[in-house]
């Protein structure tokens, strides 16, 4: 004889489980700082000021110096450069400078999006279990970033970088970068200040770890703009095609 399971008990248990799962996720996410917002390089209460790169000396190995000097020798004094070809800065220059342009952060419990205005450069930082095995992804200028929380600090670890000589911070494809994000002391008027302590290690191109701290202050009334860069090249190409065909180009 089959024993009858009381329906109210099954539904009650299911309800409890669903309830616990549903409420536990937002509660744990809500416990963490939300870095979402538009940010500009820290200038303090004085407002506008000259852009300055974060402090910190990068000590290159002889191999790296040679690679860097080769790049300088073919580009110095010319208009050749990654930015002029609409290529983003790549880590760690993207987070440390990005040409002094603003940055937007959008945070979800499982992911942080860093959108640097210059070149629409985007980093996707996967938090906790959302992160996958970096070795299964292609190397990129911004690498693959996974993160976890340590208290109120978001620890981001980036690997899968490429050899990069066209940067203020040259590194090999063996470099790894650790960032530690946290809210620093706000300005007198309450404006939020975000900090990231950064350490780059590179067994091939760095004599010692490169360590620096970058700070931003929030832009409460500012929308980070889009940065269309390659369109002029396409317009020039279109113009040539239309001219050859004897047609009037109306696209602008």
């Amino acid at each position: 004889m089959q024993k009858k399971v009381p329906q109210f008990r099954v539904s009650t248990c299911l309800g409890l489980i669903v309830g616990i799962l549903f409420f536990s996720i937002p509660v744990s996410a809500a416990d963490k700082p939300d870095f979402s917002g538009s940010w500009t390089t820290y200038r303090g209460s004085g407002g506008a000021g000259a852009f300055a790169a974060p402090a910190g000396e990068i000590k290159l190995t002889a191999e790296a110096m040679k690679a860097r000097q080769d790049f300088i020798s073919v580009t110095e004094g010319t208009n050749h450069g990654a930015g002029n070809s609409c290529v983003g800065y790549g880590m760690p220059a993207s987070v440390l400078g990005s040409g002094g342009y603003p940055m937007e952060l959008i945070q979800r419990p499982e992911q942080l999006f860093s959108i640097y205005e210059a070149h629409n450069e985007i980093r996707r930082i996967y938090i906790g279990d959302e992160a996958e095995d970096p070795s299964t992804f292609f190397p990129e200028r911004n690498g693959y970033s996974k993160a976890h929380w340590e208290g109120d600090r978001l620890i981001v670890e980036t690997s899968r970088l490429k050899n990069q000589v066209d940067s203020r911070y040259p590194h090999s494809n063996q470099a790894t970068i650790r960032e530690e994000y946290y809210f620093d002391t706000p300005l007198e008027d309450g404006t939020r200040v975000l900090a990231a302590e950064l350490t780059m290690i590179d067994p091939l191109w760095l004599e010692e770890p490169f360590v620096t701290t970058k700070r931003w202050q929030e832009l409460s009334d500012y929308h980070v703009m889009t940065y269309e860069c390659s369109e002029p090249l396409w317009l020039d190409e279109m113009e040539m095609l239309y001219k050859e065909a004897g047609l009037e180009m109306v696209q602008e």
């Binding site: 790169a53 000097q69 609409c86 940065y227 269309e228 860069c229």
Partner: protein, 128 residues
């Protein structure tokens, strides 16, 4: 060894003190310390990234009338300077302040637009 030391000093100096490395390209060709005013008719104004392009028809005693191409900030940074495309309508005569070419050639980097009442919009101090 001596050459290696010289090599290292050069490189470290470049990395530490060359602000232009943050820019899209070298700004060494422009003289931002000795800006000058240029008046001309707008032939083309392309607000684009990574840099704006402005072509003015300029006339002076030394070189006569010719089209001169100027470079400027990205359109995003031009907007932040308060400089918008409708201020450079084709056919209009405008006066701009530029960082001239160090080699004396035509051209330069746009740092501001001078309005008819003498005010200047924009205060660019270096290439982006």
């Amino acid at each position: 060894m001596k050459s290696f030391f010289k090599y290292s000093v050069t490189l470290v100096s470049t990395l530490l003190f060359s602000a232009s490395l943050y820019a899209h390209h070298s700004a060494a060709q422009f003289d931002f310390r000795n800006t000058v005013l240029v008046e001309g008719k707008v032939m083309e104004a392309r607000f684009a990234n990574p840099h704006m392009r402005l072509v003015l028809e300029v006339t002076d005693d030394a070189r006569g009338t010719r089209d001169i191409e100027f470079e400027g900030h990205s359109r995003n940074n031009m907007r932040r300077q308060g400089l918008m495309p409708d201020m450079f309508t084709e056919g209009d005569t405008v006066t701009i302040r530029i960082a001239p070419m160090r080699n004396g050639n035509d051209g330069g980097y746009v740092t501001a637009l001078r309005t008819p009442d003498g005010d200047e919009i924009g205060r660019v101090t270096g290439a982006d």
